[in-house]
């Protein structure tokens, strides 16, 4: 059973032009969501190296959100299409290695979808609270990490 006091640590990698702006809109619209998430701003989802996701988990994140512009809407025309392909392979490979992909949420949130962002963050936070700490991964840290 998950510890009552457990609060998931969530790291988000979002693109500057859509999801970051969408999250700004959540704010301007004064929509509320849970405060577990920390957003790291990147220019585009194309900049999302899968190693960033890895490192976020290595650093103790219980969940990761990666989000950018919807297909066809990338500020750089196709960064998100490239990103999508890489996520497709990453996701597949992680499944094959038996890693818990319920802890990574990929999404498209546009600059106009402030409400979607709030809902997404809340859903992910609740879900992670249910899943509990990512001990199966953090256990590996015991050998010590930089």
């Amino acid at each position: 059973m998950a510890d009552e006091a457990f609060e998931p640590k969530i790291t988000a990698f979002v693109c500057n032009w859509c999801t970051y702006a969408g999250a700004d809109l959540t704010g301007t619209s004064r929509l509320k969501y849970q405060s577990n998430i920390r957003i790291i701003r990147l220019p585009c989802t194309g900049r999302v190296d899968f190693m960033l996701i890895q490192k976020a988990f290595a650093r103790g994140s219980d969940g990761v959100i990666v989000s950018g512009c919807h297909p066809n809407d990338c500020h750089y025309t196709s960064g998100n299409y490239h990103a999508r392909r890489r996520w497709m392979v990453f996701n597949d490979l992680m499944e094959f290695m038996g890693l818990d992909m319920r802890r990574v949420t990929f999404s498209w949130v546009s600059a106009a979808e402030g409400a979607k962002w709030a809902t997404l963050v809340n859903e992910v936070t609740d879900h992670l609270r249910e899943l509990g700490p990512y001990t199966e991964y953090q256990r590996l840290l015991n050998a010590g990490v930089a």
């Binding site: 890895q54 490239h82 010590g144």
Partner: protein, 267 residues
């Protein structure tokens, strides 16, 4: 075998190549690479079903490139590696000839990328039947079982990098593993670092691995590490229809996209 030796002798005698890279008898019936530079040495060359190693890894090494024009005795995986290396600008077109021994015992000399491409198109997948079976078995397991499997395997990794050294596609001069600004992956071998190393390696070989299994054979502690890279490669082929090592021109699946790529997990 004689046909192959004769061919090698001719090539060397006529000065068409300066070195023939092939296989010779190693200890205990195993085959090991052989670098034949004079006619006198062609007798060392052997060819049989045990010649499974991928010799393409040598082709990108500076000391070997220096020897001059090369002919390489090539099995299916070596041919695929040749093409992939050419596509990735690591081999100049025409710098290497491939010597292929057909089932009938004849020797084909494939001296340019187009000839290799055409020949590769006629070959079955290079993944061995045993590996195919192992992959299928793993895929049939539950996620937890797969995690347990890989945790078991990877914790034995001693980070000797034999897999990386043996891989024909791991030719990069400065590997992410050696990058220390930032130190992406910790140097020491421990469970997290091992997991990261092998994920990175598999991701970097997705769409590029030629499925020779060389890395698995090279591993001193016997981790079937090639299953990861082969799976990543297969993932690319399944999802984007692009197999590695079948074309000498740039068509890296992860360097392009289709607007209608289909996935099921992005919200």
């Amino acid at each position: 075998m004689d046909v192959l030796r004769n061919k090698a002798r001719d090539l060397l005698a006529q000065g068409q190549v300066q070195v023939v890279i092939g296989y010779e008898a190693g200890t205990g019936g195993a085959r090991r690479p052989s670098f034949v530079r004079s006619e006198a040495d062609v007798a060392r060359l052997v060819w049989d079903a045990d010649c499974v190693g991928n010799l393409a890894g040598y082709l990108t090494r500076a000391e070997i490139k220096k020897m001059g024009k090369i002919a390489v005795v090539a099995n299916a995986a070596t041919l695929r590696a040749l093409l992939q290396l050419t596509a990735e600008h690591q081999l100049a077109e025409g710098a290497v000839s491939a010597l292929v021994v057909t089932e009938e015992g004849a020797v084909l000399e494939l001296s340019n990328a187009q000839a290799v491409t055409e020949h590769v198109a006629t070959l079955p997948a290079s993944l061995s039947a045993a590996d195919r079976e192992k992959l299928d078995q793993l895929m049939a397991l539950s996620r937890e079982e797969r995690r347990a499997f890989w945790e078991q395997e990877l914790q034995r990794c001693i980070k000797c990098y034999a897999c990386r050294s043996s891989c024909p596609m791991c030719y990069c001069g400065s590997c992410t593993m050696d990058c220390n600004r930032p130190q992406w992956v910790p140097v020491a071998s421990h469970e997290m670092g091992n997991l990261e190393y092998h994920t990175v390696r598999a991701m970097h070989l997705a769409g590029r691995c030629v499925e020779c299994g060389e890395c698995g054979r090279a591993c001193p502690v016997g981790i079937p590490i090639h299953l990861l890279t082969c799976y990543a490669e297969e993932s690319v082929r399944r999802q984007f229809g692009q197999p590695a090592g079948t074309s000498a021109t740039l068509n890296y699946a992860l360097g392009t996209f289709r607007p209608d790529d289909q996935e099921t997990f992005i919200r």
